[in-house]
Symmetry: C2
Subunit: 330 residues, 2 copies
């Protein structure tokens, strides 16, 4: 059977361009014992892809090799099976790549509850959710009654961090870039407070929103909010650094806060990268799923149609024009 896939053929210099990719037609091969054929139905587009497309630097994460199918997470259906764990008809998720079909031996493939919409899986259970869960629950280790500040709070990771924290009994303050996003955080997602970093006096706003100080700062963006957060951290506070988007493309990244507070307040600052946890994807995904099943996590998804739409559509992430989690329906 013939199917389409998209390969990475050229690394982007600055922005991602259509000629970085090549649409190819491939043919499925017969599956062997232990293998399954997956028909992908939905795939996820994530900001992390920009990094995966670059040549390796700083040993951050293995890049997608030129000529390989572009990396992504996705949801699909098992259409042929010689593996008892994955019967025909099963709904599965994994790092499937930009392709309509793929053959797998099951490694890194997770069974999904059939009743769960693919949009929920990719918006919550996939990269955003496992990133949020790992960073918040396993690194920051929150306790009920503590106060969390999260930057990039309306983003796919930040919005889940805040909602898991609410479910765990924390006071949650989100930082986002528009009044509309701030309203979404407080009125729809149940955040206790939200700060528009484009218009607020950050240090005052953080102090007022966190009268008992901040126990956990979940950092997605970098920028001036970092300093306002630092100034309001409590003793033994934990800072989880998931991303500093504002600095990634700068040749002269902004200075960080002084370490005087690190000693005086015995702060811990921990950076992490999700690829280090890819082998635990299924386990982490189930943990996020528990919140989703209880109705504790809401999401918005923005769905494009057809594999080819990813080639231009990925840039919606970088212009900020997407309204919710960006997903391609195949």
């Amino acid at each position: 059977m013939n199917y389409k896939a998209v390969k990475l053929v050229k690394r982007p210099e600055t922005n991602i361009e259509p000629d970085n990719f090549s649409l190819v037609e491939l043919e499925t091969s017969e599956i062997r014992d232990g293998e399954i054929l997956i028909k992908q139905t939905h795939m996820s587009l994530d900001p992390a892809m920009r990094g995966w497309m670059s040549a390796a630097t700083d040993s951050y994460i293995a890049p997608v090799e030129l000529g390989d199918i572009m990396r992504s997470s996705g949801v699909g259906e098992v259409v042929e099976s010689k593996n008892d764990q994955f019967p025909v008809g099963a709904k599965v998720a994994g790092m499937f790549g930009w392709t309509e079909y793929l053959v797998s031996n099951g490694t890194g493939v997770s069974l999904m509850p059939p009743e769960l919409p693919a949009e929920a899986i990719l918006s919550v259970l996939a990269l955003p959710g496992v990133t949020a869960y790992h960073g918040l629950m396993e690194i920051a280790k929150p306790k009920a009654g503590e106060t969390l500040l999260v930057s990039g709070a309306a983003g796919s990771v930040g919005s889940i961090v805040g909602q898991i924290a609410k479910a765990e009994g924390l006071r949650v303050i989100g930082v986002a870039g528009s009044d509309e996003k701030c309203r979404w955080l407080t009125e729809e997602l149940g955040f206790d407070a939200a700060i528009n970093y484009k218009t607020a006096d950050l240090e005052t706003a953080v102090r007022e929103a966190a009268p008992n100080g901040i126990d956990i700062y979940f950092e997605n963006t970098g920028g001036p909010i970092q300093h306002a957060a630092f100034a309001n951290m409590n003793t033994f506070g934990r800072i989880v650094v998931c991303g500093v988007i504002s600095d990634y493309n700068s040749t002269t990244p902004a200075a960080g806060p002084s370490w005087v507070h690190v000693v005086k307040k015995r702060l811990s600052i921990q950076g992490f990268a999700m690829p280090d946890q890819f082998h635990r994807f299924g386990e982490l995904s189930q943990k996020v799923g528990a919140y989703l099943m209880k109705g504790q996590i809401q999401y918005r998804s923005h769905v494009l149609e057809g594999l080819e739409s990813a080639i231009e559509g990925i840039n919606l992430l970088f212009t900020g024009a997407n309204e919710g989690k960006l997903i391609v329906k195949l």
Copy 2:
């Protein structure tokens, strides 16, 4: 029996002045069941005392109250005992304060091997050693073959950090402020390399001394070495922040490094303060003692004579005029 003690009666504004203290004469009371009378023979003077003399700020550590005996660690001998754990004649160590005698119920008092000189106890087993051990072994968790960079390497804490790390099989690079101190580190203490931060091009010097990058950076000083260390950290590197002396008295502390590396290299940065571990002093002290007994830790001590000598002598620490661990012999 009459004895002398020194009380804190006035908080220093900038430098420590003799009128911050008052020499008083007290009388020992009869000990009750469970108590012991300790005759202190040696007491330790440490840079941390400057902080203990200040009013509480940033909830860092409880200050010494005005009118209380000045806080310090010391070594002494049990001269009366109604506590079976501490027989008369036993050598003991603890936070005894600036006093010739004290009554204790034994809490926080540790028995010391009689053959161990008081200088070794205060230079290695007391504050410097337990700080070095806790920061290095319990926070940074070194593995043989890793590379450690330590700032303030010729100081009481830094010199022990480096020597424990050598005993644990690490490559050790020290940063200090003179060629004489650098020679002491490499020729006497067995450091693999030493960098004089006053004369070296730091980033080049660190890169050359750490050809495989830095796994652990033990920070005692702050200043430009922080940036050179950061630039050479390995993936999953650990930074332990014990002190940033260069910034303590500044109203505008220097900016820290950008957090881009924190994510890309998944660094952890952990601040700590020894008073949080005072309840574990005995246990930690024994662990440092094991290195001392094996001859793996050398020390230099600078001994003053008589309780009153502490009042002026403490300033040797801040002018840097002491040659080795500053100790008062009573």
